[in-house]
Amino acid sequence: MKDSMVTVSFEDQIAIVSLNRPDKRNAMLPSMLTELNQVLIDCSAQTQAIALLGEGKTFCAGFDLKVCAQDPSGKIMSELLSGLSTVVRTMRSLEIPVVLGVHGAAVAGGCAMLGGADIVLADQSCKLGYPVVKIGVSPAVSAAFMMASIQAGPVRTRLLDTKLVSAEEAYQIGLVHELVDNAESVRSRTIQIASNLANKPGSAISATKAWLNEIVSPMTDNAQIGLDVSLSLTGSHEEQERLSSLWG
């Protein structure tokens, strides 16, 4: 497990799951997402809540675009999109709550993970957003879960505008539920909330989570369509041209 891109530890009744590729700002690779998905599923069978975090200076910078730029076929980009969609859907469908603590930056695929979490914390100086259209990638993959979290107006702006927003702005639109004073405190506060949830009656929590999922299912049922839209652009000329101009 030492070289693993996803670490997990257990504390009381919770699992602490961390993205662990700090030298690359926890940039996502297909194998990382596969691993994360499996870890989340395994944890849900063993614990009452999950605290999801990132190691190092930032939570997650999104997909590893350097790797994508070296793959003209678009296959890696497709695997990343599918993997991300699966992880977000898993987070949402688990019986136990997922508390996500982001710090530094939660960008693109990293920001998409907010859509699957039940409770989201961010430090005051964190930057968030989906600046992906400028590299020819469609954030459609994230749209359904964003719609099932925040109001439709801000979803549109955040997915179409490449600007990153401050944690304060993200809090204002409901993308973040709690602001933490500094990045160092995100971990402890996230663990604290997860422990708090783990100590509540489990069947009431899981019944409530499942019912909330069902209420918003008219929106989240579109998740596959969103993924298909994002997949339809992979390997396209526009995407490859823009990726290679940045990373080639």
Partner: protein, 255 residues
């Protein structure tokens, strides 16, 4: 006056404004079968009324403390069906309130807890004061706020509603204002009645047809006409309520 104030639910009409007062202060206006039946008949009587605004409030220190927990503790009531009956009645009441042609205003004078807080979310406008207590502590008691969840999601948006209902606990009127649970806030309880009065007056100046047509459209757009979702929510709440875990947690709370 003394006669009307002994009614568990009081309905007063003043011009275009109707006021429904939950009047069970000794039990923090908790929803018993009797209270719910009183609210049903008050709301029913408004369907042909020419009033354009309905204000809902509570007598005493609480707005509504939610479900009558003593009634739903099977060991105490000796009747496992009471919880289901209460939840089903609450579900139907919320549907009726949402479909009223009047603009509905919750004037949250004090604690609005669980189902009581859900009741505020069904209303079109919520007014409260900075020190009121609002929230959804159901999960803390091992029960599930499913019956009111559709209204909370529509009021707060799904993400904020998810956080509020999974985290449990209660919040101040000011914090409720910050997350959109409260639309208008007075600094103190003393200022609430005047604020409520001025907002109700302002709302009542709207054209009756324009108000009801607008409400109907908003109900269509936001899925409020999905009655089955609320009824299913009541069933889920009832199922969780009957579990040994929930009953044990309720019993501990009532000790």
């Amino acid at each position: 006056m003394s006669e009307s104030t002994t009614q568990p639910v009081q309905l007063d009409i003043d011009g275009l404004i109707a006021t429904l007062t939950i009047n069970r202060p000794e039990a923090r206006n908790a929803m018993s079968i009797e209270i719910l039946e009183g609210m049903h008949s008050a709301v029913d009587s408004l369907s042909n009324s020419e009033t354009t605004v309905l204000v809902i409030t509570g007598t005493g220190r609480a707005f509504c403390a939610g479900m009558d927990l003593k009634a739903v503790l099977i060991e105490l009531s000796g009747d496992a069906s009471v919880g289901k009956q209460l939840l089903s009645s609450l579900a139907e009441l919320t549907l009726k309130i949402r479909n009223l042609h009047q603009v509905t205003v919750a004037s949250v004078n004090g604690a609005a807890i669980g189902g009581g807080c859900g009741l505020t979310c069904v209303c079109d406008v919520t007014i409260s004061h900075a020190d009121a207590k609002l929230g959804f502590p159901e999960v803390d008691l091992g029960i599930c706020p499913a019956v009111i969840a559709p209204w909370v999601v529509r009021k707060l948006g799904p993400g904020v509603a998810r956080r509020a209902m999974l985290m449990g606990g209660v919040m101040s009127g000011r914090d409720g204002f910050d997350i959109g649970l409260v639309d208008y806030l007075s600094e103190t309880r003393d200022e609430l009645d005047e604020l409520t009065e001025s907002i109700a007056q302002r709302l009542s100046t709207g054209g009756p047809k324009a108000l009801s047509a607008t409400k109907k459209l908003l109900n269509t757009i936001d899925g409020s006409q999905n009655d089955e979702l609320v009824r299913k929510g009541a069933e889920i709440s009832a199922t969780v309520l009957a579990t040994p875990e929930a009953q044990a947690a309720l019993k501990a709370r009532l000790k």
